[in-house]
Symmetry: C3
Subunit: 341 residues, 3 copies
Amino acid sequence: MKTNPGRFFEDYRLGEVIRHAVPRTLSGGERALYHALYPARGALYSSDEFARACGLPQSPMDDLIVFHTVFGKTVPDISLNAVANLGYAEGRFLRPVWPGDTLESASEVIGLRENSNGASGVVWVRTTGRNQRGEPVLDYVRWVMVRKRDRAAPAPAAVVPDLAGAVAPADLVLPEGLSFAGYDFALAGEPYRLGDYAIGEVIEHVDGVTIEEAEHMLATRLWQNTAKVHFDATFRDDGQRLIYGGHVISLARALSFNGLANAQMIVAINGGAHANPCFSGTTVRAWSEVLDKAETALPGVGAIRLRLVASAARGTALRGADGKYAPEVLLDLDYWALMPV
Amino acid sequence: MKTNPGRFFEDYRLGEVIRHAVPRTLSGGERALYHALYPARGALYSSDEFARACGLPQSPMDDLIVFHTVFGKTVPDISLNAVANLGYAEGRFLRPVWPGDTLESASEVIGLRENSNGASGVVWVRTTGRNQRGEPVLDYVRWVMVRKRDRAAPAPAAVVPDLAGAVAPADLVLPEGLSFAGYDFALAGEPYRLGDYAIGEVIEHVDGVTIEEAEHMLATRLWQNTAKVHFDATFRDDGQRLIYGGHVISLARALSFNGLANAQMIVAINGGAHANPCFSGTTVRAWSEVLDKAETALPGVGAIRLRLVASAARGTALRGADGKYAPEVLLDLDYWALMPV
Amino acid sequence: MKTNPGRFFEDYRLGEVIRHAVPRTLSGGERALYHALYPARGALYSSDEFARACGLPQSPMDDLIVFHTVFGKTVPDISLNAVANLGYAEGRFLRPVWPGDTLESASEVIGLRENSNGASGVVWVRTTGRNQRGEPVLDYVRWVMVRKRDRAAPAPAAVVPDLAGAVAPADLVLPEGLSFAGYDFALAGEPYRLGDYAIGEVIEHVDGVTIEEAEHMLATRLWQNTAKVHFDATFRDDGQRLIYGGHVISLARALSFNGLANAQMIVAINGGAHANPCFSGTTVRAWSEVLDKAETALPGVGAIRLRLVASAARGTALRGADGKYAPEVLLDLDYWALMPV
């Protein structure tokens, strides 16, 4: 059989590096589509002129375009037989990606633990995206629950990686040349700087977007993510197409402009959970909580650590009394962004 | 509260200039999307070679891409609390926009009049779009009805601007270098030149397009227009998403190719009304009426003034016996385009 | 009447060359949209770096972008009054198309035969797409059944062109400079080379995509194909919009990556039939059969002749006992692609 059956739990070996297929050149076309798919308005990703005024040679590709492109390549090797996408950690954007750059990705297996049911196991991988010069542009850890092909296959020695709860401010990699010293708040859309946000502050982002099937499929294909469950209405018994979790990330991030217009560049993804599945017809809303703040060595540039929650309902509920995510919560993402001080 | 509540009627001051946020660099990506979203076939906007044969350095961005981009930036400041988008006047395209250009927009408040109900008022603004060199590329007057935050707020002195019924031919700004002296009618798609059109002539454009939710949202987001009513199915009591009026403009303009293939560049918008709301599922049709014709100083280039009507039904009805727009009329737009003589 | 009524059967003259309107410049925007519309993952069309490693200056536009663009231009002249799109033959890709190239197309009438019912006839055309230097990039024969305007119009002498059943391997035109000598199978996504495929081998491509209205309309408009039946839900009595056959071709070709990742460039279309109409909501699947294999003069480059079948059901059924296409078969396409030996 020449088609890809995907890997099963017993196919992964600790320490193995999987080079993912199909490199991808990104251009202004992907950027335009990103703006059509999400209500993205971050000035640094919208305007070459604004980016130049911030010390960059031109507007970089949106960080999440980079994330989705790198992630999409991993799907045929990592998550084709995944039962669940369990989490992210230690994600860092290491270098801007420019129109014309070509991205590849590779994943190292850094953890394996069979489940007690003997039918599946958890695989941890550290995925690295690189540009055409081999320079890393992004790396992150992701763990997924993967089915076993054969329940009788022996369990590997359990190795669970020790992952940081969050990227430490000192470990953030900052884009070379970036300066917010002459930052134009009026053009950026809001007057709020790092000092205007308090740790613990919660911002409800007001807007909502009702998702259509065509939109999430266009987006998911754009990143060459081929998981059947997103595209084939006959795949699930209920006839619904599960929306790629990254679509919800991008939607929520774009909605967060309204209140966080100056949280310009994502530099780290500390963690993330796709708390509940999302389907077409859902009106997605978002809220953010300020988790931390830090200084950086770049002129005028601070870092803000944010919890970004996508929700199918108004309000800022996160967990119920039982400690579980509220049923309307779609995404709980923890990230660092750069913001003018 | 850090999210943008939008401005209310009493927040506008006569003469004030509002600089709108989020400059935008346009590229071949936006052009490709425009061709995917609308059945646009104007040769000058489709082919660099055709544009060069007409004396331009390359194919400019479609005029309506420019209009929507400039307009989109105004939404958070002008129409977030608008009850109705009342009209346009004195719109002029002042300079072509090329792929790679970055647009900004700003609006001057040129008129204010509180409604007799004390709950809202009309705001007139003159919006100007500029490129990265600060050169104006488009300006137009738009007026909207905006809610008051506080009915008790005092009414400003009423100032209603004196607006031209149409841009005079002598005031049209013509693209530098444009020539239709060697115009290739076969490549453009139709043999008709300015002399073939009679004032009063009506052209029914034959084709129809049934609109889907995903399409109008992709388009509206592409222009970074964030009005909730276009995206959030929970916003209106009837669960419908109102389609951005500009989507209907672009759709009708593209449909008008069939009969007006040589009405190449829009140089002025004399007026416009979104006569009735448009929703997903509507099959949009279009017809045009020749309102006027004029010569220009450019070789082989004439100007044609057209009424462009988008309709949810076949036929060329405009108004009922009561003088009101027929219920199927979606758009009544009055514009000048350039056409070979 | 200034709108285009389309040509009727009696309007075609044997030997006449019809130059089609609206040249089109293609860019990275069209490529990005292609990746959003189809699950396309061919490495040569995804990555400039991969293309360079194969001896090309950069990644060419996907062959089917070229096909659809050239085809789209013919619609107003050839198939506006077509009753049926009957077949393709002798299609050859003659030269890669690069971002920035501008395509035109022209068709020569090479066959005419009135149907015995006197109400319609079959028109054969050879369509050639050319770039801005006038170099041919694609030519193919297509035949369509076209209505007569007037049943009383005299029948032309019947001329049925003698068409090759398939392009002979020696007649394939190979891209200058192409080499698969250093082909990277891991990056391309699969290890299989020409020698791994046996004539007669059937590959079921596993994945399926459920089509939405918005998607096929975006795609069809992108190629400036204006046939009403694809866009206007009021056009057919059943209220359905017929999906452009080329959309199904691109979808099936993209799905065939899974099992044929190394069938990189399409160099010939030997034949094709849109076996049954396709409508929104269909979950499209694909299977391929290896029909032939051939060597080429280029380093490491072989040719594989494939039957590509798009189907609305699982399985690899093609024809029923009556010799007719099974009802679930949407497309039966016969093409040559280049593959590493």
